[in-house]
């Protein structure tokens, strides 16, 4: 059993996005965080102070732990932002404004 089977989902056709340059499949309607989880990726930010990995924590837009760079815009909450075909997701280093 998986969640898609449980909800008897018939998603629209998957599309391709990139995560740190690697191609990755995403389903229509999935947020950045959902697609990354589905691909087995749990972290996509390294913190400003200690450089520690972070990913989803609250999952509802409150904690800002899941900040990520999407199409060169840093500080997007991965748990809120839906993906579109061709989106380029990048691991956010520090504040995201360093590079």
């Amino acid at each position: 059993m998986n969640p898609l089977e449980l909800a008897r989902a018939r998603p629209g056709p998957a599309f391709t996005v990139t995560f740190d340059g690697r191609e990755m499949a995403a389903l229509p309607g999935q947020t950045v965080a959902a697609a990354l989880w589905a691909a087995g990726v749990m972290s996509w930010r390294s913190t400003r102070g200690e450089g520690r990995p972070r990913g989803v924590f609250c999952g509802i837009g409150v904690c800002f732990d899941c900040l990520v760079t999407v199409n060169d815009r840093p500080n997007q909450r991965a748990c809120l932002v839906p993906l579109r075909p061709g989106d380029a997701i990048r691991t956010q280093e520090s504040t995201g404004h360093d590079d």
Binding site: L6, A9, R10, A34, W37, S43, F57, I60, N75, T95
Partner: protein, 491 residues
């Protein structure tokens, strides 16, 4: 036909939907403003439309209530009495001579402003979010809030990993564990810190709501069916891993709520879904100047706040679950409909909802006493445990601010250590910082409910709030907005 009085309802969860339906049915024009792409809030969160879920109810209970609310909303939208604004993130409600102005930011980008103006009334149904107390390793990827695991499952049909431990305290843990198991995760353990004896002692009060007890028993039966091991009066003392979660250590608690020696055991897992109860969202209420008692918005029998024209319902007024939120929302909507139309409300019209509200408030007050984080949770917070996740402030730094620098309140700790100054503005670490500093939990005053681009702030309230002399919104402005929150500290 005379123009219907206009009310802005903020939040489209159970309370906001019930309020919207009641208000529209009884003569108001409602603008329902919600941050999500679909109505439902957290409780009725639906899978994204593109996922084509044909059986979304597999992830929900009270599905029929949701269907009734959804159909009612659609009906009122069709008649033009309700206007549903999706993807609108409200950051401030302003009192102006001509009525209330609701300031929101549009879409997930949250850079473009929208204003809903001249509302005669405002109804706050802003819901709540999960409280999590820190422990070593809780910042590792794979450690998520219990509600967050559920939200990602309901909305995105995804799991964080293969093997989960669900831990903490509160009535949310049961449905989260049952949901993860049903969706195919192996739930290695459900770890609840409450002492089962505290439920036995309170059984008469809890038995007053047999439907709620049956709901709990139903989840318990599903956990048995999925062979989920339940450890009561236990707590997670540490999460292990380097780049991500690999295991947790759990331990039994003694009668005082301290970790019992020699009871530690390690459980391998790649997911820890953890929560210690819920907190109300009170930012908008505090921004309008509503009285807040402790952490919840104060309301009277009609769900009125102490600010004329402002009602509140649901988790914002105290945590009590979806059924209570429906009752409160209904009452608030009825009261607002009468009062904004210049009529005296007739409480007999909502006697059923008022009865349910009284019973459920009693029930949840009792439940709240029974469910409790370990009394001495702070002893597990080592000096190098990160407490403020945003600013990476450790337990040791916060303790030094208290013991060596004399900080006696959360605000002073914040000024000395930066705990609570980051992106989340202390929403996550607030309870922990208060606990470590020995202060009661109170609702923090934040000037705005979310980060606001400086350009939006500069133009707010103008006749053309979207007009921007410099062209597109400045992408840098959003990051700068955090500093505004920090500097304008009204706590």
């Amino acid at each position: 036909m005379t123009e219907r009085p206009h009310i802005a309802v903020i939040g489209a969860g159970p309370a906001g939907l019930a309020a919207t339906l009641a208000a529209a049915r009884h003569g108001l024009r409602v603008t329902l403003i919600d941050a999500a792409p679909e109505a439902g809030g957290q409780f009725y969160r639906q899978p994204a439309a593109g996922l084509g879920a044909r059986r979304p109810q597999a992830l929900h209970h009270q599905w029929r209530s949701w269907q009734r609310l959804r159909e009612g909303l659609d009906r009122h939208i069709a008649t033009g009495h309700v206007h549903h604004l999706r993807d609108h993130h409200v950051w401030f409600v302003e009192r102006r001579p001509e009525g209330f102005t609701v300031h929101a930011l549009l879409g997930p980008e949250q850079e473009r402003p929208v204003e809903v103006r001249a509302a005669a009334g405002v109804l706050l149904a802003t819901g709540g979010y999960e409280k999590v107390l820190p422990f070593p390793g809780w910042t590792l990827p794979g450690v998520v809030t219990a509600g967050g695991a559920q939200a990602m499952l309901k909305g995105g049909l995804v799991l964080p990993g293969r093997t989960a431990v669900v831990a903490g305290t509160g009535p949310l843990l049961l449905p989260v564990a049952a949901g993860l198991a049903a969706a195919g995760a192996r739930v290695a353990a459900l770890v609840e810190s409450a002492d089962p004896r505290s439920f036995v002692r309170r059984f008469p009060a809890l038995a007053a709501r047999p439907a709620k007890l049956a709901e709990g028993a139903g989840y318990a039966a599903r956990l048995v069916r999925h062979r989920v091991r339940t450890l009561v009066h236990h707590t997670v003392v540490e999460a292990h891993g380097d780049q991500r979660l690999e295991a947790v250590t759990v331990a039994a608690l003694d009668a005082e709520g301290r970790v019992r020696p020699r009871t530690r055991r390690r459980i391998d897992c790649d997911t820890l879904a953890v929560g210690h109860g819920m907190l109300p969202h009170t930012d908008l209420a505090l921004g309008i100047g509503c009285r807040v008692d402790g952490v919840a918005v104060h309301v009277d029998d009609e769900q009125r706040t102490d600010v004329p024209g402002v009602w509140a319902a649901g988790e914002a007024t105290g945590i009590g679950g979806a059924v209570l939120a429906l009752a409160e929302g209904h009452i608030a909507g009825r009261s607002a409909a009468a009062r904004l139309s210049g009529a005296a409300p007739d409480p007999n019209g909502w006697a059923g909802a008022a009865g349910a509200r009284a019973e459920l408030r009693r029930f949840f007050a009792t439940l709240d006493e029974a469910y409790a984080p370990p009394a001495h949770w702070a002893e597990q917070v080592t000096d190098d445990t990160v407490v403020c996740r945003c600013e990476e402030v450790t337990g040791g730094t916060i303790r030094r601010a208290v013991t060596e620098l004399g900080a006696a309140d959360v605000r002073t700790v914040k000024l000395l250590t930066r705990a609570g100054m980051g992106w989340c503005q202390g929403r996550v670490c607030g309870p922990a910082v208060a606990g470590l500093a020995g202060c009661p939990e109170t609702a923090a005053r934040r000037p705005f409910a979310r980060p606001v681009p400086l350009g939006v702030l500069a133009r707010a309230g103008r006749d053309d709030p979207e007009a921007d002399p410099d062209g597109d919104p400045d992408p840098e402005a959003e990051a700068d907005a955090v500093d505004v929150d920090v500097d304008v500290d009204h706590q």
